[in-house]
């Protein structure tokens, strides 16, 4: 997992972080506007080249079970709980409607594509670029830094969680059986993971303080980004995409009709 965040040189990697954030936001807006799966599918069509441009396509491809799980889970939930529309089949008090199934398809594509674009962004944005971008957009440095750092800590915590789990299994903890007993048996995991995280954060804050963090002086930045043609191309593309989806919405297209 940790190699996921070690962004390689790529087209997206060279983009201005603030512009990249704005572009991501526009894609999210587009994704949230329409729910007809045929239209949402357009975003997945764009997602593939975007994944390649992020330089992390191989890693993203390895995560396909996660995208599939998110898509399937949301499909099932929305299909079952959407009650309006023409009933296809009924079973044990639950019913599937034709519109409900189509709508669920749209929702599942929407969620998974947002997850995909989110990961494309994270994979192509090292934490220094991330806080550079946030500061550039007017967020205070300490908050930007903390937010960026939290991404960095995820793989570290998952690593310590796996060590702790190993330690407990070798003392006879059996992580088997049903969901409840499994969850119960994982409970002892939380205490050491939480405490080791606390200890780490404590050391980290000493290290940060000792290096002048929060000096209250206007901070300089060693890395520098300038908006260039590629930023305008990407932003322009996303703007057009969002505008197009807004137009469709106004025209009443791309929405499932109940």
């Amino acid at each position: 997992m940790s190699d996921f965040f070690a962004a390689q040189e790529s087209f997206f990697r060279r983009l201005h972080p603030s512009g990249k954030m704005a572009a991501l936001l526009l894609v999210f807006v587009a994704a949230l506007l329409l729910d007809d799966p045929r239209y949402v599918l357009i975003l997945w069509v764009i997602a593939i080249p975007a994944g390649i441009l992020s330089g992390a396509f191989k890693l993203l491809r390895r995560l396909w079970p996660i995208f599939l799980a998110v898509a399937l889970a949301s499909f099932v939930l929305w299909a079952v709980f959407t009650r309006a529309g023409t009933i296809l089949i009924s079973f044990a008090g639950l019913s599937l409607t034709r519109q409900g199934v189509v709508y669920a398809g749209g929702m599942s594509l929407r969620l998974s594509v947002m997850l995909f674009f989110g990961l494309v962004f994270i994979a192509s944005t090292p934490i220094e670029d991330l806080y550079y971008g946030l500061v550039n957009m007017g967020l205070p440095f300490p908050a930007s830094f903390a937010l960026s750092l939290s991404f960095r800590l995820v793989p570290i915590f998952s690593e310590s969680a796996s060590t702790i789990l190993q330690a407990q299994r070798s003392r006879g903890l059996a992580a088997e059986g049903g969901l409840v007993s499994r969850f119960k048996s994982y409970f002892p995991l939380f205490v050491p993971v939480f405490l080791s995280a606390l200890r780490r954060v404590d050391q980290l804050s000493i290290a940060l303080e000792s290096r002048g963090f929060g000096a209250g002086i206007k901070r300089t930045s060693f890395i520098q980004f300038r908006f260039s043609a590629r930023d305008f191309i990407v932003l322009g593309f996303c703007l057009a995409l969002a505008a197009g989806f807004i137009a469709l919405r106004i025209l009443g297209l791309g929405m499932v009709q109940f």
Partner: protein
């Protein structure tokens, strides 16, 4: 630097961590601060750069002058430009994705203009010999490189005074050597330095040594005067240099710390090994070798390739017999931990495998194998999770379905063995690191396993605690339990283990009785390991001693 009447008590602390410290240091001087765990060493360093009382609050009194200015009331970021602090935990000090950005972080915070930051990065990285690593991801570096990078990132603030808080403790011998070289070179450039370290080798760059106990300075003298006083060192949790113990034992005056020169000196004084005494030692070694039990664990052609494609083990063959006290030694990344994690099935073999008592070890068996093979992880804090010492030790036997009466008997035994009886109701998180390590051992011993595997059981402990842990293991071994430890601390291996396996680059490069292995410095060198001082001294004299006592018993002055 001048410190007067320094007192500090942490919020909720029951005693003063610093209790009336007076300290002075001249410009360009290197001072080592030593003492047992909890003596106040870290607290002292933290007051010098203002973390105490700015960040950790509590009762604080006393005066600190740094470079002629009072430090009290100054913010940490102001002090950071005069006093740099390097911590033990190098992982927490690095958070960037490119080495140069970690170095840039400090100057950026202080608003240093961009062009100057570039120059500071160059200077700081070259001061630690890491110019070539500018663009590397810190997580891809070795421990020693990471710590050197952490030093560079502190140097970028251009502090005159540098504090090293156990900066080498978590490193392997290779990394320790690298960091110590950096410290020595910084000293020769005229920086003022304070070192906190447990190992005598780490104290070598110091001009003067200060011993702390309960927040007070109890002794202070030139480095050599202190190091040649084994008694005061032992009493304060510091391992005395073996040459100092030897010279003191033979009343030879101030010790020569270099084993080769020491041997020359001792020879000139007319000392020679007594052949009868040596023959006795050899006979004892042979007897131990002959009395090895039957094969308990058989590792055959074991290979392991991690999911990321890195091959960690290459065709390992190894027999561990009943009653062995086996040390697996080597640098970090040499495959030691990967190897032992196959013994109880924590890792699946890519090729080959492990046979335990005639049965193949499989990952599905981990939790059941815990009854036979106890595994103590490197960091006790990854193991401990209960709110009572008793429950922690009872976790394994309860998992194995013993009756309450059995569980309580087993817990009692285990806590007795590690010296924690009477502490059943204490909260494990309030124990000292050494006690937590012993609790981690008890929590595995309570399952009464035949084999005990420990991954670096003494890292980060002071000398007193290290010996307590090792003596506990030696006692268990004497009772017939098979012990396997992973370590890179060779003096400890020499004193306690019966056999050793040397690992390098995923391969077993040497195996044998402990004296045999440690007497092959040329092979150990291939694993970047150096035999203990007393063994190197002994080899110069013609016989590889394992303990100072062995040398004392067998060297006679021929005059």
């Amino acid at each position: 630097m001048r410190v007067e009447g320094l007192r500090f008590r942490y919020q909720r602390g029951d005693r003063f961590a610093l209790d009336g410290m007076d300290f002075g240091q001249a410009k360009g001087e290197a001072v080592a601060v030593v003492g047992r765990s909890g003596a106040g060493k870290t607290s002292f360093l933290l007051t010098l750069n203002g973390i105490i009382p700015n960040f950790y609050r509590g009762d604080f009194s006393g005066e600190i002058d740094i470079l002629g200015e009072p430090a009290l009331g100054k913010h940490t970021f102001e002090l950071a430009q005069k006093v740099g602090l390097v911590l033990q935990d190098f992982e927490s000090q690095l958070f960037s994705t490119r080495a140069e950005l970690d170095v840039a972080f400090g100057p950026e915070n202080l608003g240093v203009p961009r062009e100057q930051i570039a120059k500071r990065i160059d200077d700081a990285l070259s001061a630690v010999g890491m110019e070539k690593f500018r663009g590397r991801a810190p997580e891809s570096l070795s421990g020693g490189e990471k710590q050197r990078l952490a030093i560079a990132s502190v140097l970028a603030l251009e502090p005159e005074i540098l504090l090293f808080d156990e900066a080498t403790t978590d490193l392997d011998p290779l990394g320790r050597g690298q960091v110590r070289d950096v410290i020595s070179s910084l000293k020769s450039q005229g920086r003022t330095i304070i070192i906190v370290d447990h190992e005598p080798e780490g104290l070598m760059p110091a001009d003067r040594i200060v011993i702390l106990d309960r927040g007070r300075i109890i002794a202070e003298n030139s480095r050599d005067k202190i190091l040649c006083n084994p008694e005061i060192l032992r009493a304060n949790g510091i391992r005395p240099p073996e040459m100092a113990e030897l010279f003191e034992g033979f009343k030879l005056g101030p010790a020569e710390f270099d084993p080769v020169k020491a041997a020359e000196f001792v020879r000139q004084k007319g000392f020679k090994p007594d052949q009868a005494a040596l023959a006795k030692m050899i006979a004892k070694d042979e007897k131990r070798e002959r009395s090895r039990g039957g094969v308990l664990i058989k590792v055959k052609g074991l290979e392991h390739i991690y999911p990321n494609g890195n091959q960690a083990l290459f065709g390992i063959d190894l027999d561990v017999c009943r009653g062995d006290f086996l040390a697996i030694i080597g640098q970090n990344g040499s495959g030691k931990t990967t190897l032992v994690k196959h013994i109880n099935g924590l890792l699946p073999a890519t090729k080959g495998g492990v046979i335990f008592e005639g049965k193949e070890v499989r990952p599905a068996l981990v939790s059941r194998l815990g009854r036979e093979i106890g595994f103590v992880f490197q960091n006790p804090d990854h193991q401990i999770f209960c709110s009572r010492v008793y429950d922690e030790a009872a976790f394994a036997p309860r998992n194995y379905g013993f009756s309450d009466a059995d569980v309580s008997q087993r817990v009692k035994n285990a806590l007795d063995l590690v010296g924690l009886s009477g502490r059943e109701n204490d909260n494990p998180f309030l124990l000292t690191k050494g006690e937590r390590q012993r609790l981690a051992i008890a929590s595995v011993l309570s399952a009464d396993p035949k084999v005990l595997i420990l991954d670096e059981p003494t890292t980060g402990l002071d000398y007193t605690e290290q010996r307590k842990v090792m003596e506990l293991l030696a006692e268990q071994n004497l009772q017939g339990r098979t012990i396997i430890i992973i370590t890179h601390t060779l003096w400890l291996v020499a004193r306690y283990a019966s056999r050793a396996v040397v690992m390098a680059r995923g391969r077993k490069i040497l195996e044998g009785g402990i004296r045999e292995v440690l007497s092959k410095p040329e092979v150990l060198k291939d694993a970047s390991l150096l035999p203990p001082e007393i063994t190197r001294f002994g080899l110069e004299m013609g016989f590889g001693f394992l303990r100072v006592e062995e040398a004392m018993q067998s060297l006679r002055s021929g005059g």
